[in-house]
């Protein structure tokens, strides 16, 4: 059965800001645990978080490791969408550059997800 509620989290910070990189995953995991459908959208430097192996380096003080949270979000069914031009401009567009489950999309898909959710949060 589809979730009755939906949230979109736009992630724009990468490993250089561990706290802002981590918090959207905390919120996404909590939302999924609360039976809320979740879409995570990665843009700008946020795309580095779904670059294979890069999340393993992110640890914000007093938060779980990002890699652990990312695994939780994937296990709980979160959708991860990645900005196409953002990965191209960072040289991350090779087939094996991104983690499993990350889907490369363009602006139209982001707009479709955001407009279908009652609320979206930008980090």
């Amino acid at each position: 059965m589809a979730a009755a509620e939906k949230l979109v989290f736009m992630v724009t910070h990468g490993p250089d800001d561990p706290e802002l990189a981590t918090i959207p995953f905390v919120m996404a995991a909590a939302a999924l645990a609360s039976d809320v459908e979740v879409v995570l959208g990665f843009q700008a430097d946020g795309v580095r978080l779904v670059h294979r192996g890069e999340a393993d380096t992110v640890q914000a003080p007093e938060f779980p490791p990002l890699a652990r949270l990312m695994a939780d979000v994937r296990e709980l069914g979160g959708t991860m969408l990645v900005c196409s031009p953002c990965i191209k401009s960072r040289g991350l567009a090779a087939p094996d550059d991104l983690i499993e489950g990350a889907e490369v999309v363009a602006a139209g898909r982001f707009i479709a997800e955001i407009t279908s959710a009652p609320n979206s949060l930008v980090y």
Partner: protein, 88 residues
């Protein structure tokens, strides 16, 4: 979140499943509770141990959101014992 069971009543409860989430940072205890709920029958009592002082309010809010019954919590030696009944 208002607990609906008194401390003296909570003291008498033997949980069906205990989750030791001591030392886990937010949202660890919540995710552990979510995962455990899927493995116990309806009506089962989960007891979550947490050293994070906000877990008790977090679990209370989560229970109300998803339809479980938050019974309350007991302060233990350096951690909280949080009680929830699976209702869905």
């Amino acid at each position: 979140m208002t607990a609906i069971t008194s401390e003296s009543e909570l003291e008498t409860i033997t949980a069906d499943h205990v989750i030791d989430a001591r030392g886990a940072a937010c949202p660890g205890p919540l995710l552990e509770a979510k995962k455990a709920m899927g493995g116990v029958p309806l009506g089962s009592v989960l007891e979550i141990w947490s050293t994070d002082p906000v877990t008790k309010t977090d679990i209370g809010a989560w229970s109300a959101k998803v339809g479980h019954e938050f019974l309350g919590y007991l302060a233990a030696d350096g951690y909280d014992r949080v009680f929830v009944v699976r209702r869905k």
